[in-house]
């Protein structure tokens, strides 16, 4: 077993494009849950409309790539309004039920045969990311130090993605350290109290839902760009649960919590996958088949969350003082 190989590939994943995509989507979830207290269990729905915003615009309608991103953002705004207008005046659980349902319904709609002409149905869409890779400023080749190396393509993706993550963090930091952020956090604590002080709670919750959803849509759009092909079935509900796991692992209600959570989670997942794979290939664990790795990985995420709740409920960089405050 080659530990150096396992560690370096885990490190590559942790700072690679996928981790950045998840970090971006988790930042949106952090605004929803960590700061506003909105229980969004359908962040994957925003990623879906974001991914298809780009793919459909470019492949089906022949629009330029930048217009595709604009369509992604617009779709996220529409989805947030659809979700928020009927539910945000009601008790908190209505939103969570709606988010999980609407995200799943959206996936089924996008894969339906009547939508095939636009979305490609179950076959999805391809060939829309060309402009992105044509703009790659890095000459072809491998870049890296030691055992860690990335292709020029990945380096370009990582530059754009971590740039987006940094921008999202900056936006979040500015917002949260402003009077707007104070109202948002007040709503998380008790929305009736905030309303009694003359703040239009509905509008704030809507703004939070929209902005967090836009972060999700941008993450989705970058999934499409990264893979250069998308199908509806990669936007399954478990994507949202991975995002929740990352957010809670890193620390909800902290600017860098979701980013750290995504990085650490992808690191651990890769170490785990590679360990199992090399163990099963050496035949030490004869009962273990290659196909079991995926299932065990879910179990590992569950176990991590369990340990987290027991030993460090505030997450890696969560504020213990805030966590321990007597909420009643």
């Amino acid at each position: 077993m080659d530990f150096m190989y396992i560690l370096s590939s885990a490190f590559e994943t942790a700072i690679g494009p996928i981790a950045a995509i998840y970090a971006l989507a988790a930042i949106g979830l952090n605004l929803h849950f960590g700061y506003t207290g909105l229980l969004n269990f359908g962040q994957v729905g925003f990623m879906l409309v974001g991914a298809y915003g780009v793919a459909v615009s470019v492949t089906t309608f022949g629009l330029p790539l930048w217009a595709g991103f604009a369509v992604s953002v617009a779709c996220a705004v529409v989805l947030a309004l659809l979700l928020g207008i009927p539910t945000l005046r009601l008790r908190a659980d209505y939103l969570s039920i709606c988010t999980i349902a609407v995200a799943e319904v959206a996936r089924l709609l996008y894969r339906a045969s009547f939508a095939q002409e636009v979305t490609g149905g179950v076959y999805g869409l391809q060939r829309f990311a060309g402009d992105f890779y044509d703009a790659n400023p890095f000459p072809p080749g491998d870049y890296g130090v030691g055992d860690i190396s990335f292709s020029a393509r990945d380096l370009w993706l990582m530059t754009v993605l971590w740039g987006l993550v940094a921008l999202a963090c900056l936006v979040m930091w500015l917002l949260i350290h402003s009077p707007w952020g104070r109202v948002i956090k007040g709503i998380r604590e008790d929305e009736e109290a905030v309303r009694s002080l003359g703040k239009n709670v509905f509008v704030y919750k809507m703004q939070s839902l929209v902005l967090g959803g836009v972060f999700g849509a941008l993450a989705g759009a970058m999934i499409a760009i990264n893979q250069q092909t998308i199908t509806p079935d990669q936007f399954m509900p478990q994507v949202t649960f991975y995002l929740w796991a990352m957010l809670l692992l890193g620390g909800a209600g902290r600017t860098l919590g979701p980013v750290l959570g995504a990085v650490v989670m992808w690191f651990l997942l890769t170490v785990f996958d590679e360990l199992l794979r090399s163990l099963s290939s050496t035949g030490i664990l004869p009962f273990l088949q290659g196909s079991d790795v995926g299932a065990l990985r879910h179990a590992m995420v569950g176990l991590t969350l369990l340990l987290l709740i027991v030993y460090r409920p505030q997450g890696i960089i969560g504020n213990r003082k805030e966590m321990l405050v007597n909420v009643k």
Binding site: S178, P179, D190, E192, A193, K199
Partner: protein, 293 residues
């Protein structure tokens, strides 16, 4: 209260009858009704609150006091009726819109924003902040000065309510009584012309009650109108200019403290069912300071 040796009758010439009109009402309620299933929780035919006074709303548990507060402040929907504040009809306004008209309420079950600091609780309440709009939030230059002015005002209020030492602590670390004080101070940050306090003294340390009463009378003397729900008869009789008695959702009596004390119906309805103490100890004890009238 005994600290006020020459009580002024701010309600001179007003007859102690349910639904009586007042010379300068800030709040007027007409036919407001609310029922929950078969239970009529509130059924107020006519009620006026005189500007610049302390009006107590009393009545046994379940009389509908909190429900009336909720209805008037836009936190519940009336089944019928209308009400106006400063001459403006408030029907259909949401809770935040009512607060912006200058009528700010607190809650019977205290709502401190626990994972915000005491200072942030105060600052949040300041009205019309540029930085509380999403786009304004990015331009610190636009709201920094406003924030500092609000912080100064907040500190003055916290000082007054003896919470200044706690300003950087989480509101959730305060005691129940301190949370009541914070909620009251916070409501004042909105710059209201009328505050509606739902049991502001409940759970407050008796030593603090006296100073809290001092704050309430001081607010009234500065021109604010105060409507408050309270159970402690000494407190009610001591500081109220006017008392409204609610029983089973209806106003059964109104009047100065002396009128209420002499009202047989009230003593039966209120003290009879709610108070465990015999009424002859509770009422005369509160009566003492007023004896010289």
């Amino acid at each position: 209260m005994s600290s006020d040796p020459t009580p002024v009758d701010r309600m001179a010439g007003v007859a102690p009858e349910p639904g009586v009109t007042k010379p300068d009402p800030i709040l007027t309620v007409d036919g407001v009704r609310r029922s929950f299933g078969g239970l009529t929780a509130v059924d107020v035919e006519h009620l006026e609150v005189q500007r610049g006074t302390i009006t107590a709303l009393i009545g046994p548990n379940g009389a509908g006091k909190s429900t009336l507060f909720n209805l008037l402040t836009g936190f519940d929907r009336v089944d019928a009726g209308e009400w106006s504040f400063e001459g403006r009809r408030l029907n259909r306004l949401g809770g935040h819109q009512v607060a912006r008209t200058g009528m700010v309420r607190t809650f019977q079950l205290t709502k401190a924003l626990t994972r915000l600091t005491v200072m942030d609780n105060m600052l949040l309440a300041a009205p019309g902040q540029t930085g509380e709009r999403m786009w304004g939030a990015f331009a610190r230059g636009l709201w920094g000065r406003q924030e500092r002015a609000n912080a100064e005002r907040a500190e003055a209020l916290l000082e007054r309510f003896k919470l200044l030492a706690k300003k950087d602590e989480m509101a959730g670390s305060l005691s129940g009584g301190q949370r009541k004080l914070l909620e009251m101070a916070r409501s004042l940050m909105v710059n209201p012309s009328m505050v509606m306090l739902d049991e502001p003294m409940a759970g407050v340390n008796p030593a603090l009650v006296q100073s809290l009463l001092g704050h309430i009378t001081a607010l009234r003397d500065e021109g604010m109108t105060v409507l408050f729900v309270e159970h402690d008869m000494d407190v009610i009789m001591g500081i109220s200019d006017w008392i409204v008695v609610l029983a089973q959702g209806r106003v059964i009596a109104e009047g100065r403290p002396a009128d209420i004390r002499a009202n047989k119906e009230v003593v039966d309805a209120y003290l009879g069912t709610h108070h465990e103490e015999p009424s002859d100890t509770a009422v005369p004890a509160a009566a003492e300071p007023e004896e010289d009238r």
